[in-house]
């Protein structure tokens, strides 16, 4: 897990700090500016969550618990059913059940249910950016709960499922395999 590795790196770094300007195989000169980051400083800012589940905090939440969180904190912008309003995009919607026609037409709205490839992104994004009027104000339990509600409304997890650091990374999103690397390389062929 990246957090644990970070702490190991930190301990090593503090020990080596005085060893000035060692080459390390890089050509750039080291000028020794900046100061060692403390463990507390890193912990306070190291909030990212990735698809392996690294970074997910302790806590838990179910769709039932998330319904009230969503109604109170999210529905004003995203609609009571997550259908989307002017102020906030649609979060719920699985149509079309077959195919991935978003490049061909604008008929279908892209949602968490039909477009987002990773469930962990939902935690990461809600944690850092939502609700838009007060980002960072939700507790871990509230975020797990509202994530569970959104995934449940999209029929991706059971209404009774509980989301936590172990279960969320295991959620398989419908659009997971649709994403491909950039194949543009310049040159005469337009891709």
């Amino acid at each position: 897990m990246s957090g644990r590795r970070t702490r190991c790196a930190l301990i090593g770094c503090v020990a080596l700090w005085g060893a000035a300007c060692r080459s390390e195989g890089q050509t750039a000169t080291r000028y020794g500016v900046g100061r060692p980051a403390t463990r507390a400083e890193i912990a306070a800012w190291d909030i990212d969550v990735n698809p392996s589940g690294a970074g997910l905090p302790a806590g838990r939440g179910s769709a039932a618990e998330g319904a009230s969180v969503f109604a109170a904190k999210c529905a004003a912008c995203h609609g009571t059913k997550g259908e989307g309003l002017t102020a906030g995009p649609a979060l719920v919607g699985r149509e079309p059940r077959e195919g991935f026609p978003f490049g061909q037409s604008l008929k279908y709205t892209r949602t968490v249910g039909n477009y987002w490839p990773y469930a962990t992104t939902l935690y990461d994004y809600v944690d850092r950016a939502m609700p838009a009027t007060a980002p960072g104000s939700l507790t871990a339990d509230e975020i797990y709960a509202v994530v569970a509600w959104i995934l449940s409304r999209n029929e991706i997890i059971a209404p009774t499922a509980v989301m936590d650091a172990a279960s969320l990374p295991r959620v398989r999103m419908p659009a997971r395999d649709r994403f491909v690397p950039d194949t543009r390389r310049g040159g005469a062929e337009f891709r």
Binding site: L16, F100, G103, T120, R128, A129, P135
Partner: protein, 420 residues
């Protein structure tokens, strides 16, 4: 700038060019001008025709203002999640005036005290380090000219084109500036990258802590951590006090108000690299991490709402750019693409920067459609709208680099080309 139109011809004037877009904004602005400036407007008017003023002018000042006759302005839309388009039709040369550089942000513009600013670099590094602003300024600085472009620039022209679109509304989410900062590679040398690191999570200090994963190769290539734009500290909307600058790459990844860089093994799959800033394609996939901005150009003059005078020389002028390097050539067509002629590129042609192109043309009153087509040093050329639709699809969401057109109507009015 463009060549002289020559011989006292009634070519379009700058005043005529500005009339459509600036008059309204100018009238609105005038009400808020200080009395000293408002007085200038009346007093200065006849000096051009009647010789120099016979009374002393304005004193020196701490910061200068534009002429009271010039009113270039951005067009802001949205609130905290918004964009503000650069007035391309009002600009000359290649450097975008700092206060007219386009804006795009997702959680409003934060106010950051530079004495409290911190940049944390951690993750797969030997020495997790906190840099203050002054630390960054103690490293050797580098200054380069690069364009920035929002990945969604041109979306309105693609999705809902209208004759009344101006260059500002077609492509105003690109700008070009001189940036000063330190190579990201130099910062990584300070912290020591550990084996296994292949991406960097860059996080901004805005309300939404916008985050993007950037390949380590870009950091080792030409990525910068910048603190100055056009010779002065970044403006708040541009990321004050420090932003990431990834030359040629989509604007969103050039994280503003940069507060954290985390060396990681795999991309983080942040919202803005999955749900947003991915390109659904006609084959049922979505292209991800499509950072590079494709070769592109737009004629900025003449363009809507300019009206051309008949039998007059017209300087065609515009900008071209590519995220893959230098512009090799720009061709211009005045007959909707049946024939093309080369435009003159204004030196210096810089890599991953706006390049000004010009071409004189005489309009004799017949039907005309003005196009520009840029080719970059890799040989990539702008596609036609039809080619773009075929390869990218009608539902695609970013990287709109198809050829843009301006139609000259019978009465000389120039409108955005809607029907292709």
């Amino acid at each position: 700038m463009t060549k002289d139109a020559g011989g006292g011809s009634p070519a379009i004037t700058r005043r005529a060019l500005l009339a459509g877009t600036a008059a309204t904004a100018g009238a609105a602005l005038l009400g808020s001008l200080p009395d000293s400036i408002r007085g200038l407007e009346a007093r200065a008017t006849p000096s051009g025709a009647q010789g120099p003023p016979r009374t002393p002018g304005q004193p020196t000042s701490a910061t200068s203002m534009r002429s009271p006759f010039e009113h270039p302005a951005r067009t802001p839309i949205g609130q905290v999640t918004g964009a503000s388009f650069s007035p391309l039709q009002d600009l000359s040369g290649t450097i975008t005036p700092t206060d007219l550089h386009f804006e795009r942000h997702h959680g409003g513009v934060p106010t950051i005290d530079p004495t409290e600013y911190r940049l944390l670099i951690h993750g797969l590094v030997r020495r997790p380090t906190v840099f203050e602003l002054e630390d960054l300024k103690r490293l050797p600085s580098i200054t380069r000219v690069y364009f920035l472009e929002c990945s969604g620039n041109g979306r309105t022209a693609y999705r809902s084109p209208q004759r009344e679109l101006t260059p500002q509304l077609v492509d105003g989410l690109t700008s070009n500036a001189e940036w000063t900062g330190v190579p990201l590679a130099a910062l990584l040398a300070e912290v020591g990258v550990e084996p296994g690191a292949s991406w960097i999570l860059a996080e901004g200090g805005d309300a939404v802590l916008l985050s993007r994963s950037v390949p380590l190769e870009k950091a080792m290539d030409d990525a910068l951590v910048v603190y100055a734009q056009n010779g002065e500290a970044l403006r708040p909307a541009a990321g004050y006090p420090v932003r990431l600058l990834l030359p040629g790459w989509e604007g969103n990844a050039n994280v503003k108000w940069l507060r954290r860089l985390k060396l990681i093994a795999q991309p983080n799959m942040s919202r803005d690299e999955t749900s947003r800033y991915t390109d659904p394609l006609p084959d049922g996939t979505a292209r991800q991490f499509s950072f590079v901005m494709d070769v592109k150009s737009i004629i900025t003059r003449p363009a809507h709402p300019v009206r051309l005078g008949r039998d007059a020389w017209v300087p065609i002028s515009g900008i071209a750019w590519s995220g893959r390097g230098k512009i090799r050539r720009v061709e211009v067509s005045t007959d909707g693409g049946a024939t093309w002629v080369p435009a003159e590129l204004q030196e210096p042609v810089l890599s991953k920067a706006h390049t000004r192109f010009t071409r004189m043309w005489r309009w004799t009153g017949g039907p005309a459609t003005l196009l520009s087509r840029a080719t970059d040093e890799t040989g990539a050329t702008q596609p036609t709208l039809a080619e773009f639709r075929e390869k990218r699809g009608r539902g695609t969401d970013y990287h709109f680099n198809f050829i843009r057109g301006w139609v000259v109507e019978r009465d000389g009015l120039v409108v955005y080309q809607v029907d292709v």
